[in-house]
Symmetry: C2
Subunit: 402 residues, 2 copies
C-alpha cells in the first residue's frame, strides 16, 4: 500500500489544548489523555469504502485514519479484520434479533491489545523511540513486547507476580526486560514513574500514550465494514481501562463526519463485573467521572480496573449514544463462557463472556429489543486463560472402553 495519513495533531478532550504529532506527547498539561485529530475532508477524498474493500485484511486498511505518516514505519504481524461471528444459538435461546461477536481472540498475541500495540509501536518507531516502558497485568505488556521486538525497540515491563505466566513468557521470549512485583498493577505504575526519569524511556502506560486508542478504534471501523457499512443497534464492551470503547466511539464519530454512516449511532454499552463496577456506579448517578472502586475483585482480571484514567470519555460515549452501563456477577460470567463454548463453539476469555452476560441482562429487561442487532466485543481467546476453569475428568484404563 502507498497511503497518506490524514493526521493533523493531538487535542485535549477536556481543555481543548492542541499538541503536535511530530514530537512525543503524553498527557495534556491538564492531566487528560490526548486524542488524535485528522483532516477528515481530505481523508474522504483519498479513500472510500469501495477502495478499502480491495486492501489487505489488516487494520492498516484504514491507513488514512491512522497516525503513521510513512508506511515504512508500520510494524505488523497481520493484526486486524478479526471475525465478526454470528451467534444464532444464543440469539434463539434469549430471543435476540441478530447477535454477533467481534472475536479479538483471533489476532496476534490472542488479545485485542495487539491493535493498540501495533499502532502505538509503529508511531513510536516513527518518532525515533528506542525504549518503551509500561506497567501491565500481562496481555498489554506481551503485545507491546512483541511489536517492540519487531520494531527493534527495547521494552521494559513491570508485572504483578500473579499475572498469567504465558504473558510473562511471551514478553521475555520477545526480548523484553521484565520485572515482577509483589503487588498490583498500580504499584508497578508507581515504580515505573519513579524509574523513568533516570533512563529517559518512553512511558507507554494506558492512555498516557495517545496512539493506542487509534489502534483500538479500528474495531469500530471493522464492525461497520463487516456489517456492510451499516451500524448495529447496540455494541457491548467489557470495560477495564476503557480504551476500546473510547476508540470505537471515536471511530463512529469519524465515520459519521466522513459520511460513511448515517446519523444514528449504536448505543454503546459498558459491561463491568459486580466486583469492580466504577463506571456502572457513575452511570447510575449520571456522573461525568467515576470514583475509585475499593477492594475490587473479579475473575475477569482484564476488567479489574478500579478507576480508569479515561473514565470521563467512557461515560461520555455512553451518554452521547444513549447507551448504558451494566454489571454482571461472577457466576454469570462463567456460566455465559461455558454456554457460548457449548452452544456456539467459541471458547473466549472471561471479559468477553462478561459482555455477553451484560447483553443477556439487557435483553431480559427489554432495554435491548427483540428486533435489534447487537454486537459484543470479545477481547481475547479463552486459550490464554488456562486457570479460569477447573474440571474433574474421568479416567479410562488403558485396557478399558468408554
Amino acid at each position: 500500500m502507498n497511503t497518506q495519513s490524514c493526521i493533523t495533531g493531538l487535542v485535549c478532550p477536556k481543555c481543548k489544548k492542541r499538541y503536535t504529532h511530530r514530537e512525543l506527547q503524553h498527557l495534556c498539561q491538564c492531566g487528560s489523555p490526548l486524542l488524535v485529530e485528522y483532516d477528515l475532508e481530505r481523508a474522504g477524498y483519498l479513500v472510500d469504502p469501495e477502495t478499502i474493500k480491495t486492501r489487505p485484511v489488516t487494520l492498516w486498511r484504514y491507513a488514512e485514519l491512522l497516525p503513521v505518516l510513512d508506511d515504512a514505519n508500520i510494524v505488523s504481524l497481520g493484526e486486524g479484520f478479526t471475525p465478526l461471528t454470528i451467534l444464532p444459538a444464543i440469539a434463539a435461546k434469549y430471543a435476540f434479533g441478530r447477535l454477533y461477536m467481534k472475536d479479538e481472540g483471533i489476532i496476534p498475541t490472542g488479545t485485542f491489545k495487539a491493535r493498540g500495540a501495533a499502532v502505538g509501536v509503529s508511531k513510536a518507531r516513527e518518532l525515533g523511540v528506542k525504549h518503551v516502558a509500561m506497567p501491565t497485568n500481562g496481555n498489554a505488556g506481551a503485545a507491546w513486547a512483541v511489536y517492540a521486538a519487531r520494531a527493534g525497540i527495547k521494552a521494559h515491563i513491570l508485572m504483578p507476580e500473579d499475572a498469567p505466566r504465558i504473558t510473562r513468557n511471551e514478553s521475555v521470549a520477545a526480548g523484553a526486560q521484565v520485572h515482577l512485583v509483589r503487588g498490583l498493577i498500580s504499584d508497578c505504575g508507581k515504580i515505573l514513574a519513579r524509574s523513568i526519569p533516570a533512563h529517559g524511556w518512553y512511558d507507554v502506560s494506558t492512555l498516557k500514550e495517545p496512539y493506542r486508542i487509534e489502534g483500538k478504534k479500528t474495531m469500530g471501523y471493522e464492525i461497520v465494514e463487516q456489517l456492510g457499512w451499516q451500524v448495529p443497534d447496540v455494541i457491548a464492551y467489557p470495560i477495564g481501562g476503557g480504551v476500546g470503547i473510547i476508540g470505537i466511539y471515536k471511530a463512529l464519530q469519524e465515520m459519521q463526519r466522513l459520511g460513511w454512516i448515517g446519523d444514528q449511532l449504536p448505543r454503546l454499552v459498558a459491561v463491568q463485573a459486580e466486583g469492580c463496577a466504577p463506571i456502572v456506579e457513575a452511570y447510575r448517578k449520571k456522573a461525568k467521572e467515576s470514583e475509585f472502586f475499593p477492594d475490587s475483585r473479579t475473575i475477569a482480571f482484564g476488567i479489574n480496573v478500579p478507576k480508569a484514567l479515561g473514565d470521563f470519555l467512557v461515560l461520555e460515549a455512553i451518554y452521547e449514544t444513549e447507551g448504558c452501563a451494566v454489571a454482571v456477577g461472577e457466576a454469570d460470567i462463567i456460566n455465559t463462557l461455558l454456554e457460548l463454548a457449548s452452544l456456539e463453539g467459541s471458547f473466549i476469555c472471561p471479559e468477553g463472556a462478561a459482555a455477553l452476560a451484560g447483553l443477556k441482562k439487557l435483553r431480559a429487561a427489554g432495554w435491548l429489543k427483540a428486533e435489534e442487532t447487537a454486537v459484543l466485543l470479545n477481547t481475547g481467546g479463552g486459550i490464554k486463560y488456562p486457570d479460569t476453569l477447573h474440571f474433574d475428568l474421568p479416567y479410562c484404563p488403558v485396557d478399558g472402553t468408554i
Copy 2:
C-alpha cells in the same frame, strides 16, 4: 456466498478404488486413507482467482474446491486466510532471499487443527452425523470439540493425561465428553477402536476421516494467493501426522490442473525433531514408507508421531517436488523459537520453530539458495504452550526502582 462444490467422489491413492461422497467413509478396504476428487474443469468454469479475491476472508473462499455440497452445512468460526508474515530480520541474519511465515496461530483455537475440524465437521453434519469420536494429543481434540459444538454434534474425546490442560478445558467447555488416559495417544486410539462398535460413533481419527485433508489443503491455496498467485521456491512443514503437507501438495496439484499456477511446484520440505524422525530416516533411504520410530521424544509434542498413517503420501509429496526431509535438535528448536520472538515479534509453537530451524539448516547447507523464496508453516501460537519456556525473572520491591 452461494457456491457449488465440485466434489465427485473419494479415491484410494494406493489401489485406486473409488467411493461415493454421499455416504460416510473411512479408510479404503486396502487400509489406505482416501483422497477427495473434484471436477476441476467445472471448478475452473465456476471460479477463478479474480472472483476469489472478492470473497470473505476465510478458507470457505475456495468453496468449489471443498467437499461441502450445501452452504447451509458450513460450520465456521472465521477460520482461514491467516497472515503470511514476512521475516526480514531472520532473512538478513541467515542470508535467505525472501522468507515468509504462514502463521496458523491466528485462527480459532490457536492452531491449524481448526481448518481440518471446520471442514471435517461441516461434512459430517452434511452426512447426518450426530456423534464424533477421536483420540488426541490435545489440539485436534479441542478443535473438533468446538466445531462439533457449533454444529450440534456430540464429541467424544480420549486424551493422554499429560496433554496440555488448556486443550482439556477447551474441549470440556465446548461440551465434549472427555476421558483421560494414563498412556499415549496410541493407547487412546486403541480404547476408541474397542469402544466405537457399541455406540456407532463416527470415528474421526487422523486420516481415517477423509475430509480434514481438504481443510488443511487450503493453507496451500492461501500461500499461493497471498503471494499474488505465485508459488514460492520452498515450503517447509513440521511433520507429525503429515496431513498438512499432504493437503498442501494436493492443493498445488489442483491449482496446476486449474491453470492457476505454472509447471514449477515448490520443493516441499518435511521437518522433524531428531527425537522423532521416521520420515527423515525413510527419506535418507529413499524408502516409500517410514518405519516405526522407537522411544520417540521431543519438546514439540505435536510432531511426536512415530509412524504416520499417511507416511507414504508425505514421502511422495517430497520426492515428486524434489523436496527433502531434515531433522533438528531440541536446542535448535528452542533457540529458534526465542530468536523468532526477539527478532520478528512472532511468539510461535515449538513445531513451527522446528520448521524454521530446518530451513536454517538447509540454507546453511546451500540446498536453499540465496535468491530463493521460502515459506515456513507455523502450526500454532506460542500462547497455547505455557510450559515450554521457563525463565527466572528479577523481582522489584514495591518501593523500589528499575
